[in-house]
């Protein structure tokens, strides 16, 4: 009887059922869309962060920033020899500095790795190389002789000849690029993990101090480097063994060298600028961060969550919109849909006073009448849920199909390897812009949430209508008939 009665009543009140279902559907569709777009934003942010950290890196440890000591400018200086007259040959000078001018002792890598909750830790050294190429041409001094008088001021001689410098000058080309010193024994973590070797090979574990280099794709293209090419840094010749293509960003290092080579170049023996850390449990990152900061003083620990805060641009704006406006909008629409469903159900019960009164007079217990009302309401809720899931999936599919492009500006926190080529020596925060296509993945959890909301909507509306129906007395119901 329950099923037959329910089916007949719903078909009789198709319009009312449809209005309730559509209200719930709208709310549920909005929740699915906001959830899936938020998931897309998170994926996009993860992509951005992975380009900085590499997959698997949970946090980085860098030296805490200190105020520059007096007398150290932190700026590069170049020395060129004065050459003899007539010698205008090209001179070249490389100035190699550790990025940010801040480095940690290599021994800290082992200390960090030994901390509770740390799965592995790898050190890397980030250098900035500024290369100046060019030549000086000395000017030639010529004496002025005939009848020229110098009307100089006091102390000037009169009637003598004055030498004049003629010609001469300088032409220099300044080129800056970044070098990453890589721990060749563990390349799953660290700067190279953000890139794929698309040509040649990477370092072997034995090449800890080899004069070999892996070059970033765009830097290789710019300088026409191929596997087998050679180049010099501060007079040391390196052979290119591989070309690395960054996973999703151009914000990677230009040249990768074995760590020891980088330390030698940067005059930073047993030093690293960044320690890449992988935690044993990704849910315990904050605890691990606190442990490292507590046990190893003078360091800054940056997690992907910290780094996410430095992401700005349309990705950040859209993400903020999705999490704030979108969340509240879906809550508001959902609450309104629940309220409308509850009011319509309650109103429908009021119109059926005679019907429910008759059933009670026939001996139907209140719980059976309530069950009937809740059952009808649940079907409305589930119908709304099904419609809402359909609408939500369509909206999410549309967003994914359109794939709107979002930009993300990444401000490095002074740690990490995110400085990239744009980060000059002494520059503490560099910015890189990435373009990310937004998708809206719908997870099983989101669908489960939608079904849950549909059931909740049906139950709330049914509870209100059922409560009203259960409070009816058969005599009152029959009295209203006459």
């Amino acid at each position: 009887m329950f099923g037959i009665y329910l089916k007949r009543e719903l078909s009789r009140r198709k319009k009312a059922a449809l209005v309730i279902a559509l209200g719930l559907a709208l709310g549920i569709a909005l929740v699915i869309t906001v959830n899936s777009v938020s998931a897309g934003m998170t994926q996009a942010q993860d992509k951005v962060l992975q380009s900085l950290y590499g997959l698997g890196t949970d946090m980085t440890v860098t030296k805490a920033r200190t105020a520059p000591t007096s007398g150290s400018s932190g700026r590069p200086n170049f020395q060129f020899d004065a050459k003899s007259e007539d010698d205008d040959s090209t001179q070249s000078s490389d100035r190699v500095m550790t990025q940010g001018g801040q480095a940690l002792a290599s021994s800290l890598v082992a200390k960090v790795a030994a901390q509770q909750g740390v799965s592995s830790a790898v050190g890397a050294l980030s250098l900035n190389v500024t290369k100046v190429d060019g030549s000086f041409t000395q000017g030639k001094a010529k004496s002025s002789t005939s009848g020229q008088s110098n009307q100089g001021g006091p102390g000037g001689s009169s009637g003598g000849s004055m030498p004049q410098v003629q010609g001469g000058g300088a032409s220099f080309d300044v080129n800056s690029y970044s070098v990453g010193g890589v721990d060749v024994t563990d390349q799953d973590l660290g700067p190279l993990s953000t890139s794929k070797i698309t040509s040649g090979r990477t370092f072997t574990a034995a090449e800890t101090n080899a004069k070999l280099a892996v070059v970033g794709k765009s830097y290789a293209k710019e300088n026409k480097y191929k596997v087998g090419s050679t180049f010099k840094i501060s007079g040391t010749k390196y052979t290119v063994i591989g070309i690395a293509t960054p996973d999703s960003s151009d914000s990677t290092t230009d040249v990768y060298l074995p760590l020891k080579q980088a330390q030698t170049l940067g005059d930073a023996k047993n030093k690293v600028t960044t320690i890449y850390v992988k935690a044993t449990d990704s849910k315990q990152i904050d605890t691990v961060k606190a442990t490292i900061q507590k046990n190893i003083s003078g360091t800054t620990v940056t997690t992907s969550a910290d780094l996410a805060e430095t992401v700005s641009g349309s990705l950040s704006t859209a993400s903020d919109l999705a999490t704030s406006v979108g969340k509240w909008l879906s809550i508001a629409v959902l609450a309104a849909a629940f309220l409308v469903a509850a009011l319509l159900t309650s109103s429908a019960v009021s119109r059926r006073v005679r019907e429910f009164g008759t059933l009670k007079a026939l001996g139907w217990p209140s719980r059976r009448v309530t069950r009937q009302v809740v059952g009808e309401s649940m079907v409305n809720g589930l119908l709304g849920g099904a419609l809402g899931i359909g609408l939500g999936l369509a909206a999410a599919y549309t967003v994914t199909a359109i794939s709107p492009k979002l930009t993300a500006q990444l401000g490095s926190t002074g740690g990490g390897m995110g400085g990239g080529p744009g980060g000059g020596p002494g520059q503490q925060s560099a910015q890189n812009t990435m373009e990310i296509a937004l998708s809206a993945p719908v997870s099983a959890t989101t669908i489960a949430l939608a079904v849950g909301l549909a059931v909740a909507g049906g139950l709330i509306a049914g509870a209100m209508g059922g409560w009203r129906a259960s409070r009816m007395r058969p005599a009152d119901a029959l009295r209203s008939v006459s």
Binding site: E355, A361, S366, P474, A475, L478, S482
Partner: protein, 240 residues
Amino acid sequence: MYRLTGVTKRYTRGKETVEALRGVDLTIEDGDQLVIQGPTGGGKSTLLQMIGGLDRPSTGSVELDGVDLATISEAKLTRLRAEKIGIIFQAFNLIPTLTAQENVETALVPLGVKPAERRERAAEALRSVGLGERLGHVPTELSGGQQQRVAIARALVKKPKVLLADEPTGNLDEGTRDDIMGLLEGLWHEYGLTFVMVTHDSSIARRAPRLATIKAGQITLTEQPGARQYAQQAPGVRAY
């Protein structure tokens, strides 16, 4: 057997209190037929509600076979209605979306009768009131007289001890009225029901063996031993 003692029912409307029944004393033996008549607002329907366990008196007691309907729990009262009392309404009160057979079945639902048996008993009850060909019709496809027959089948399908009718012919024309009254009285005779009916219709009231006239909440009983009943005139009523 019904025994009503000092039954008073008060309704409060705003600041005003209305006494619909004032100290009603009444006894109805098993198998009796009692017709309640009186002016509108006199308390007829209120008295029927007390007898039917649809409402409780403000003071006094309404005993059915020794059980006081004024004081038993709501659950027990509901169960008692389901088992012992069949009710027929002036406006038929059929569920508009259910067929005639399904409407009759609703009276068996609270008794926990299995669906197959429910269907069979409902069909049999409808055949007994002459609607064997209308089992699958919804109320809007039936005439007023047919709808009231469905309501009668619904009231009787559970084989109740008491049959209550609130103006059962109030919405019917004269010819149909006689048919329905003939049917009801035939069934009363057939099953030995206790039959209590409220009516405005004096021609019906005159035919009742006992007449209760209620005015301003007070009852006057009249015995009419020579009353000629509809059942003697009505076409044959078949038992089911």
